[in-house]
Symmetry: C2
Subunit: 295 residues, 2 copies
């Protein structure tokens, strides 16, 4: 097996994603010689120690990053700026700082101004996850066959990008690069809007009269069930995602609302052809996924 | 094993649901002595013959129902009235007419006035399905552990209801009874609205600029994918469901739209508490499903 990519890899946050990276680094010797894990709460720190998925477990973020040649932000994107402010003076010169957040414009906005000269910021987004969260939710296979989008900008150091690419390559992922604005637009439609819709339909159902709500729960298994799975994702993470991809998300919600109202109007006026066309387009998108073996 | 429930069971339509009933009746000797299958197209008739899932395959609907003591409408709900008009004079006195449609008010509206005196109409809705359609899509286990909602009205013959209940019981289903209006409202939120949203998000994505659309397809596997599965369901069936549950569906869409706009507004104005509350409610609904072992 190849040489380790990093001498010291520091994970800031050990939830679903962070603990999965830790587990990959435990399984393979070619990721890092030493894995340092930092978490905010004592309970998480204790659990990570019990799980034995990191070499060093460190309660203090500043101390955690000391000497690390790669630091991965695995915290909700809303926490990025505060965490960076506390660690910036302690980052090793030449270190790579990367992240796993679902928004990328906000990562540049929050982290770039605080990144010390000589430290390389390479934002990235592994498009992998489950509806579960916390250090117990992670598993080493999470990233296998999933896309990771790296969003370098003109100033980004190519050697640092290559290192982050190789990190994800060794996690089993397929890597794409994209500019941050395009990334945020794509994930707004493929991921953030679906989550917003799933949260909303659960709220709408929850608001129905007590009797109907009971029925809703009883019969939700058909159709609705998939939405509740999506809707059970981590609240802090998703709150931050929505707030940090506001423009793209609201644009997609506006487009979606226009389209759903048009379909509602067709239902009201019995426009069968319009309804069929919309259903056919759903099938077309699905077929595209099947053709790409992503279904 | 018990005596067959019916001497002659006639399935009008042999798609996903009809062919699954046929397969159950093939596996178990206590459903019917003879299963008659009718389909509209020669291709489907040929395929049903090849599959060998019915004793009699009959192209003429009127001839298919002759002598049957139970006739099951398994056609898109929009076709009910026309099919009933063609078979009504040929129904055996005392026969039970039931159906498997996803709307129940419309079934009463379309079938009750055409049902001959002495024939018993017992609408039912097996809440089971996949995104696939046609006689090859069916399988005998489809109904196992799934709810079937029977919607009798005051005039409905109790003995006929009992027979339909026993039919679904022998298919492995759990049976609930409900009035047709409550049924239509419940399925509007648990099934029809989710499908409308899924079709819509696929159309919205399809409308994005050519470049973004490609990205959408590439990265749809996370979050969006579940929606495309729902969205790939049978177009004719779903067009008919929407058109035949118009009032309840539009009411649920209106409620949903209000709620999604409220969440969008909270995103725009950074109301973190409101957003978190909505996400928490999603988790609560999900937890309800898990507690009921329906997740």
């Amino acid at each position: 097996m190849a040489e380790p990519l990093f001498d010291r890899l520091c994970l800031l946050g050990v939830g679903l994603i962070g603990s999965s990276i830790a587990r990959v680094a435990r399984q393979r010797s070619d990721i890092a010689r030493t894995v340092v894990a930092h978490a905010k709460t004592p309970a998480t720190l204790d659990r990570v120690r019990e799980l034995g998925i990191a070499d060093v477990v460190e309660a203090d973020a500043a101390r955690a990053v000391e000497g690390a040649d790669c630091v991965v932000f695995c915290v909700p994107v809303g926490a990025n700026a505060a965490v960076m402010a506390s660690i910036a003076p302690h980052l090793k010169p030449g270190a790579i700082v990367t992240d796993v957040g679902s928004t990328k414009m906000s990562v540049f906005r929050d982290l770039a101004p605080l990144t010390p000269k000589g430290v390389h910021l390479v934002p990235a987004h592994p498009m992998a996850g489950t509806e579960f969260s916390g250090p117990d939710a992670g598993f080493a296979e999470l990233f296998q066959g999933r896309y990771v989008i790296i969003t370098p900008v003109a100033e980004t150091d190519p050697a640092a990008v290559e290192k982050v690419r190789e990190l994800w390559n060794r996690c089993g992922s397929m890597i794409e690069t994209m500019d941050p604005a395009t990334h945020d637009k794509v994930v707004a439609i493929v991921s953030h809007l679906p989550h917003l819709l799933a949260f909303t339909i659960c709220s709408t159902a929850d608001d129905l009269a007590e009797e109907t709500k009971e029925q809703v729960l009883k019969f939700a298994a058909s159709g609705f069930r998939d939405f509740t799975r999506i809707a059970s994702s981590d609240p802090t993470m998703w709150r931050d995602v929505f707030l940090n991809n506001r423009e793209a998300l609201l644009e997609m919600l506006a487009r979606f609302t226009e389209d759903s109202q048009a379909l509602g109007r067709a239902v009201r006026w019995g426009e069968a052809g319009f309804i069929e066309d919309r259903i056919q387009r759903g099938r077309k998108i699905r077929k595209g996924l099947i053709d790409r073996k992503q279904a």
